[in-house]
């Protein structure tokens, strides 16, 4: 088994052309990023609006749970039958999948901002938009980005499975390998998918560290210490 995997990875044919690793990785990455951007464009504004105004919180949590309960593969299949285009179906399915974690992270992030801080912002004479962008968003950032990371992990995994409606990307190795019983290829697909997920998560963690304001990190460290003590 290990030998087959090593053979697969060392065979130069697997690194070239339309079915080569670089192409497949880029494809996979493309689906994930496209779905992530589309989902963020939809989920972040809604999360910000609900979190900032406090209006519609119950509805938001409820619909998030409904979406989460949808079987993604079933959804993608249904969309495929609807649109008869694997790319469109898969991307829509992935977007739907990525919305709940981003929505939840954004909403929870704003909800978690200390009442006294929001109150002070208002009492100092900030208008709604100033309070949102200058105070609430920077403080909510760790949880918002946490939601994005969750979404990315799910996207990487699901984009692989969506290969069965004809999508490209790393999922192809899994399906094509299974079809010809080439277990080296199947394992390689799984390994590459996992690696991509790990690398993306590390990249996002780095971005998160760079974006979250120092004061917020210090405050978080402080509360953690208090909890431990």
């Amino acid at each position: 088994m290990i030998g087959e995997i090593v053979d697969w990875f060392t065979s130069s044919a697997n690194w070239q052309g339309a079915d080569g690793v670089p192409t497949r990785v880029l494809q996979h990455l493309g689906y994930v990023l496209l779905a992530l951007v589309l989902a963020s464009v939809i989920a972040v504004p809604i999360g910000l609006y609900v979190g900032h105004t406090g209006r519609g919180g119950v509805l938001l949590v409820g619909s998030g749970n409904v979406i989460r309960a949808l079987p993604t593969l079933g959804l993608v299949t249904f969309l495929f039958l609807l649109f008869t285009d694997s790319d469109v179906a898969a991307i829509i399915g992935l977007v739907v999948l990525a919305i709940p974690p981003i929505l939840a992270g954004t909403y929870a992030g704003l909800q978690a901002v200390d009442r006294a801080v929001v109150d002070a912002a208002e009492g100092m004479g900030m208008r709604g938009g100033q309070r949102l962008w200058q105070i609430e968003v920077p403080i909510a950032l760790p949880l918002v980005l946490g939601g994005v990371r969750n979404a990315v992990l799910q996207l990487v995994a699901t984009a692989a499975v969506a290969a069965y409606v004809g999508l490209g990307g790393l999922g192809r190795y899994l399906l094509d390998g299974l079809a010809i019983l080439d277990y080296g290829e199947v394992a390689a697909g799984a390994i590459l998918t996992a690696l991509l997920a790990i690398v993306l998560d590390i990249v996002l963690a780095t971005i998160q560290r760079a974006l979250v304001p120092r004061g917020v990190r210090l405050a978080e460290a402080g509360t953690k210490k208090e909890v431990e003590a």
Partner: protein, 363 residues
């Protein structure tokens, strides 16, 4: 800028009447304290001034103008507001926290930061603290930053909601002193909320005692409220030792200051059968030398018994009584404004003065 409540009532949507027909005039340049038990509507009353809460009925006038006639955000930028637990912005440095209102009002960055640095000094914080984040400050320091941030509005009105409640009594007393010192320089109209009657009496030119249900129980000077509570509720609220606390408002003008034998630290004391007050070269009291103590050569501070509290001449008589009661020699040390010892008083003399002024002399 005076503030006037005219028939102000606040009923929250759930039916709670937080403030009930409040009529009150807050005079320009004074500290007015709202005091009362938890839930009596102090915060609600305060927040109606800057429109953080809108009254159900009635009017609030700020310098004669209905607050509802101004844009809420602009109104708030013109009113300093210190909220309970400071509410500092965790992601901003101390300096930018303090600069919040100037920046909102469109000052340029440099000017706003200079102003903020000045204010840190005003509230007694070292300039280096400006670079820190709120999470790196002690509770007392955070409260000071909260006060500095409110002062940055440079407004004639300052609203303070239990600004010192989260710190220990010693720090709190320091912050209170500082507020009084600041007020003597700034002369703002300050509305201060607390549930601590001692703090109310200490800080207020006027005290408004509220009872649960949001009704004004009594409004007057602290001396008035302590000495003539209008009913059992106020009497109960101001507490058992209000007689002693009332001494805070009695002048000690007639107390006879007696001479006391002194010895100089660093000098040769010789022998005596009496308590002797040790002073330094500036004439400031350092402690007491007990009767018939023997000192070889020069008198040093380690030969002394620590003194009691000091009574500064011209301040209320409560301090004189305390000085006498806390002194190891039973003699309260009286100092002048520069801290030089000028003599002593006994508790008996102080009590004589109190007994001759049953109504007291209010400040």
């Amino acid at each position: 800028m005076g503030i006037e409540f005219r028939g102000v009532t606040k009923k929250y949507p759930d039916g709670t009447v937080a403030v009930d027909d409040l009529n009150l005039t807050i005079e320009d340049g004074t500290i007015t304290v709202f005091v009362g038990p938890s839930g009596c509507g102090k915060t609600t009353s305060l927040r109606m001034i800057n429109r953080m809460v809108e009254p159900t009925s009635g009017t609030i006038l700020l310098d004669g103008a209905d607050v509802r006639d101004s844009d809420a955000a602009l109104l708030r930028r013109g009113i300093g507001y210190v909220i309970q637990h400071a509410g500092l912005f965790p992601h901003r440095t101390v300096l930018s926290n303090v600069a919040t209102v100037p920046l909102l009002s469109g000052w340029d960055k440099r000017k706003a930061r200079e102003r903020a640095a000045e204010l840190l000094e005003t509230v007694g914080l070292p300039a280096e603290l400006g670079k820190r984040y709120p999470a790196q400050l002690s509770g007392g320091q955070q409260q000071r930053v909260g006060v500095a941030r409110a002062l940055a509005a440079d407004s004639p009105v300052l609203l303070m909601d239990e600004p010192f409640s989260a710190v220990d009594p010693v720090v709190r007393e320091g912050l209170q002193d500082e507020l009084l010192r600041l007020q003597s320089q700034l002369g703002k109209t300050i509305v201060f909320v607390t549930h601590d009657i001692d703090e109310a009496v200490r800080l207020g030119d006027k005290v408004a005692v509220l009872r649960v249900g949001g009704r004004l129980a009594q409004y007057g000077t602290p001396a008035d409220v302590l000495r003539h509570p209008v009913d059992d509720f106020v009497a109960g609220f101001v507490g058992k030792d209000r007689g002693y606390r009332g001494l805070s408002f009695l002048s000690a003008g007639d107390v006879l200051v007696e001479d006391v034998p002194t010895v100089r630290v660093g000098g040769a004391p010789g022998e005596s059968a009496d308590w002797r007050l040790a002073v330094n070269d500036e004439g400031e009291p350092r402690g007491w030398l007990p009767p018939s103590s023997t000192v070889d050569g020069e008198l040093s501070e380690s030969d002394l018994v620590a003194g009691g509290s000091l009574y500064q001449q011209g301040t209320p008589i409560r301090g004189a009584l305390d000085a006498a009661l806390s002194s190891p020699a039973s003699l309260g040390v009286v100092v002048d404004a520069d801290g030089k010892a000028i003599g002593v008083v006994t508790a008996r003399q102080v009590l004589d003065v109190i007994e001759n002024h049953p109504q007291g002399v209010t400040r």
